[in-house]
Amino acid sequence: MQSDQELVLEFKSSIQKEGPFTQLLKRHQQKVYYQIKRMVNNHMDADDIAQQVWIKVWNKLDGFKMESEFTTWLFRIAYNETLNFIQKQQREALRQSDTENIDYEKNTSASGDPKSTQIQIALEMAIKQLPEKQRFVFMLRYFEELDYEKISKITGTTVGGAKANYHQALKKMEEILKKD
């Protein structure tokens, strides 16, 4: 099985780029999708964003200098696209003047599910209320189990900054959960 690096080199050097691209796509599409969906909590939105991410990968892979791992670069694109999407949503919500009273409970995954616990609903709401960067860092650390060096490259911050983001996220969640 070819490594990511080998596939990237093959993509760059070959006229037939679909083969190596498809292999990279199939290898990493689930992780990318899950990370995005953890942020937006909506399949349709996550699907749209994920498609944009992979189209960007296709367009920019020739210029990828391989100074970092392919997955670092890939998640960096996913991070930027996700944040752009969320910020756009927030601007549209502001324009429609309903951002002050967003019904978080309505949009949680647990809503309508009879087996969901209040704790799960509370957790989802707490995660949703995190600032986007802290949320992304928390997800990468807790669910993807990435080290801080990689997280810092993905989010464009320092290792110390990434650690701080994670612990700030924990502190914020604790405050929200205690309120509830």
Partner: protein, 152 residues
């Protein structure tokens, strides 16, 4: 050792999160994230490949000045063709020969009537020329005759 330290740090971080809510809550959260429609990732692969293929279709961009030049060229060709064929139509390249017997009498009469003056002038000119020739001949044959009497 470094690898273990990294693992411990990760474990510690996760334990801190788990202390907020039960670990099961995080697991349920992620289980929901991973709920996708059937065959979603196969469908996503096909959709993305189709999208990038469409992006690869050659797009021929024509700039503004090029568009103007193309339009001007087409107009020039059309105008030239129009003028050429119009000019060709107006010039009668070959004369049409018609026998006088085939021309209807009415047409002949109409022609004569409309061109009567010119015909009479031509006729008179012809008469004058013939008279002059005859006079010469007569003068040569009969030198004592008075030429004025003949002309009157």
């Amino acid at each position: 050792m470094e690898h273990n330290n990294l693992d411990n740090t990760l474990l510690e971080d996760k334990n801190l999160a788990n202390a907020l809510v039960h670990k099961a809550a995080f697991e349920q959260f992620d289980d929901h994230v991973k709920e996708v429609p059937a065959n979603y990732f196969d469908h996503q692969t096909a959709t993305i490949l189709k999208a990038v293929k469409n992006k690869n279709a050659p797009i021929i961009k024509i700039g503004l000045y090029s568009k103007i030049a193309i339009a001007a060229s087409i107009l020039t060709i059309l105008a030239t063709s129009y003028l050429y064929f119009q000019t060709k139509k107006n010039i009668d390249p070959s004369p049409v020969f018609v026998k006088i017997e085939e021309i209807p009498t009415a047409d002949l009469e109409a022609y004569v009537n409309s061109n009567e003056f010119f015909i009479e002038t031509d006729l008179q000119n012809s008469i004058n020329e013939e008279t002059a020739i005859l006079s010469k001949i007569n003068n040569n044959n009969q030198p004592n005759l008075d030429s004025n009497n003949i002309n009157n």
